[in-house]
């Protein structure tokens, strides 16, 4: 398998703090790859740098063979990389289904001029509503569909975020703690769903997650970060027995 995303020697800092200190890793196409590490090890920063929310100090990022370093978030999204946020960041006054519908790379009705002619976009809208309803159903959110996002519980918000990412037709999904605050049954279900999506659509997932008990069962590869560096990478079995990983978690 070829690598879909590769990060080479990426560095980033907040003032004097080196958040990323020359990180090199790659994500195989059609894999479910996990990124773990203690709090503050730079996982979210890495996702921010990849998706253009933070500018790196150095290094290169390649996606599908093309360099995407320093691209704007919009451009990264349009290139086929969708992300979720660690803290759910929904559109609080939009309903759950509307939150999903906003995730659209080319909705003719989102243009001011075209929005005036319903027939230019009503068919597209219908298809998207259908797709969104299906996703909501899978995530157990059908009842929440028409409620404003602000009344959802923390777990439901995380699920809505995931659903919104799934709406994007992206090739690569960067999920920042998709199951934190989600009950164990549903968390297992989400990971099972991720694996089946990967097979069904040939998409790739790069996931930050702390709940290894659940995540490790489903992923193909694991990358371990500590203090802004990649300290280990391999299959789940290799990782759990790697002394460096245990040290990374305990040394702090």
């Amino acid at each position: 398998m070829a690598s879909l995303l590769s990060v080479e020697e990426v560095a980033a800092s907040f003032g004097k703090l080196r958040a990323l200190d020359g990180v090199t890793l790659s994500v195989e196409e059609e894999s479910v790859t996990l990124l773990i590490g203690p709090n503050g090890s730079g996982k979210t920063t890495l996702v921010n740098v990849i998706t253009g929310f933070q500018k790196p100090d150095g290094g290169h990022i390649y996606y599908g063979g093309k360099e995407i370093t320093r691209w704007s978030p919009q451009r990264v999204y349009r290139a086929g990389i969708a992300r979720t946020f660690q803290v759910p960041s929904l559109f609080s006054k939009l309903t759950t289904i509307q939150n999903l519908l906003v995730a659209d790379k080319a909705h003719p009705g989102e243009s001011f001029l075209k929005s005036h002619l319903r027939r230019l976009w009503v068919k597209h809208e219908k298809e998207r509503v259908e797709k969104a309803s299906k996703i909501l159903q899978t995530l157990g959110l059908t009842e929440q569909s028409d409620k404003p996002a602000s009344v959802l519980s923390g777990g439901q918000m995380k699920l809505t975020e995931l659903g919104r990412a799934l709406m994007s037709d992206a090739k690569l999904y960067l999920l920042d703690e998709p199951i934190s605050g989600v009950n164990p049954t549903l968390a297992l279900e989400i990971f099972a769903r991720i694996v089946s999506l990967r097979k069904q659509f040939g998409v790739t997932f790069f996931i930050i997650e702390h709940r290894l008990d659940i995540a490790l069962r489903y992923v193909d590869y694991v990358n371990v970060m500590a203090s802004g560096k990649l300290v280990a990478a391999g299959t789940p079995t290799q990782i759990v027995s790697d002394p460096k990983v245990i040290e990374a978690y305990l040394a702090r």
Partner: protein, 349 residues
């Protein structure tokens, strides 16, 4: 009040309501729907009024083939004595001219919107508000100092495009303004329900996330400012045509702060709320105006301040007891949504 007085009072009120409804719908799109705190509304309103006033007499001479060597601004009154009789005799010509002036008003508003939005769309809320507040002051300075615009401090008159209605001038003018306002209301109500409107709301709720979903924030905010400014420009032109004259005195109290109060009162983000807030506010304001002199003997201050005091009090009361306004944004009007279920209860579909 006698019946005549009641009718006059109502017509007056509806005229004011129409103008403010148009402005407030523009503000609601910017602040309520898109989250752009436009504290410079007066710029677009005054732009629409001044530029339309400035061009109206000139255009009327040209389009009605009036031959005169008089300057349309300096000798404004004499020139209009030539123009107004022609307009009075032809309602259709007058209405045509009205339509043209409204287009000019809208275009002037758009121009002002463009001027203020260029730097503004790149700033975040508080900076944006201050910048736009400052922008709002520009036109009065120009209007006062540069006579060819609207004749300096004394101002200028506009062709009377409602003259054909004779003694019913104000009734007809009000009706037409109300009609324009209602059409704009329907248009805005449709616009916010399109996917375009949905993106505007998404940007308001969470700018960064909208960006992460590939939305061009700058372009959307620019569109909202432009549409809002066009509405303000139309309102400015209408008000100038209705009053028949303008002076460089469109101030930020009337055309920035009052609209803000009205959308606060009605409920931001909702067009219906905007309409209700506008109606309630304008009615209160007019009632206070009408009755305030009866209170004069009992008040330790000049009654001219009564409006400010009472409306200020009203604002404080709204902010304390009902910060979301009379009408909430539409989702919340769904009756008694059950409290969100705790995470543990969410069942996979």
């Amino acid at each position: 009040m006698t019946l005549d007085q009641v009718i006059l009072f109502t017509v007056d009120l509806l005229a004011l309501f129409s103008i403010y409804l148009i402005i407030n719908l523009g503000l609601n799109l910017q602040q309520g729907v898109t989250g752009i705190p436009n504290f410079g509304l007066v710029l677009a309103v005054a732009g629409g009024a001044y530029i339309t006033a400035s061009l109206s007499t000139r255009l009327a001479i040209y389009l009605l083939n009036v031959h005169t060597n008089l300057d349309p601004i300096v000798n404004n009154v004499s020139v209009l004595q030539l123009v107004n009789p022609i307009l009075r005799s032809s309602p259709s010509l007058s209405i045509g001219l009205l339509a043209l002036f409204l287009v000019i008003g809208g275009a002037s508003g758009a121009l002002m919107g463009l001027v203020s939005s260029a730097p503004a769309v790149r700033l975040r809320e508080d900076y944006l508000a201050i910048t736009l507040l400052a922008f709002g002051e520009i036109l009065n300075v120009v209007g006062t100092g540069y006579d060819p615009l609207i004749g300096g401090p004394p101002g200028t008159s506009l062709p009377d495009i409602f003259g054909w209605a004779g003694q019913y001038r104000f009734y007809w003018a009000t009706l037409i303004m109300l009609l324009v306002a209602v059409m704009i209301f329907v248009y805005m109500e449709r616009l916010v329900r399109t996917p375009f409107g949905r993106v505007l709301k998404a940007i308001r709720d969470n700018e960064n996330t909208a960006r992460s979903l590939g939305k061009d924030i700058t372009r959307y905010r620019m569109s909202a400012i432009l549409i809002g400014s066009i509405l303000c420009g139309i309102a400015g032109a209408l008000w100038a045509l209705y009053s028949g004259a303008v002076t460089p005195s469109y101030d930020r109290f009337d055309y920035t702060f009052l609209p803000w109060l009205m959308i606060l009162l009605g409920g931001m983000g909702s067009n219906i709320g905007t309409a209700v807030g506008t109606l309630v506010f304008v009615t209160l304001d007019e009632l206070i105006d009408y009755f305030k002199y009866s209170f004069a003997p009992f008040l330790p201050f000049n009654v001219v301040w009564l409006n400010y005091l009472l409306l200020g009090l009203l604002t404080i009361i709204i902010l304390i007891y009902r910060p979301e306004g009379i009408i909430r944004e539409k989702w919340a009007s769904v009756p008694a949504a059950p409290p969100p279920s705790p995470t543990g209860e969410a069942k996979p579909g």
